[in-house]
Symmetry: C2
Subunit: 110 residues, 2 copies
């Protein structure tokens, strides 16, 4: 399952703090019961964060536009073990987003 | 721009070789003129590869199901600098895919 999230109106004060955003994304992966393999987060100049959490069940990614209080997040999981909705709720609360759009894509006709 | 690729009928003999798949994904990023920040690739037991190429313009990801000759690939780019179509052509040739589905998602109404 591939969940495509758009988080708008993110009011969290640390929204441009790369370490904190990494913590949140790791927390979301754990909330979904994922097994974390590696993380890679980077801060852009002047603002914006890009990050990936590689999990044994696939990946989570985030790209933020703090100037618009907006984050684009993907949660890609293989199998039916993970709780994607738990990750979404975790992210909404942590980023203090007032509006989330969620799209669910089926991947591959196999 | 977020390009969602489904590569079917991948006939490349090295399709379950993690180092080779990593090379192909790095090659695709370079074909798109991306600046590579980090890579993380893993092989699953018994088969299957999962990988991320973090680029300064966002990311590329891949998950493979060699038993179905299928790969799910995402190319997420910020701005208009990168040549996503060049990456797609590079991937199709390298993986010897006989059929690719490409979806282009707009991300965020900002």
């Amino acid at each position: 399952m591939h969940m495509i999230l758009e988080l708008y109106d993110c009011e969290a004060g640390q929204f441009d703090d790369v370490q904190w955003v990494e913590q949140v994304m790791v927390g979301a992966a754990k909330a979904a019961n994922a097994t974390i393999i590696s993380v890679s987060f980077n801060k852009f100049n002047p603002i914006g964060i890009s990050g990936v959490v590689v999990i044994s069940e696939s990946h989570l990614t985030i790209h933020t536009w703090p100037e618009y209080k907006y984050a684009a997040i993907d949660i890609f999981t293989c199998g039916d073990v993970l709780d994607g909705d738990a990750a979404v709720n975790y992210l909404k609360t942590a980023f203090e987003s007032d509006r989330i759009d969620v799209r669910r894509l089926d991947r591959g006709q196999i």
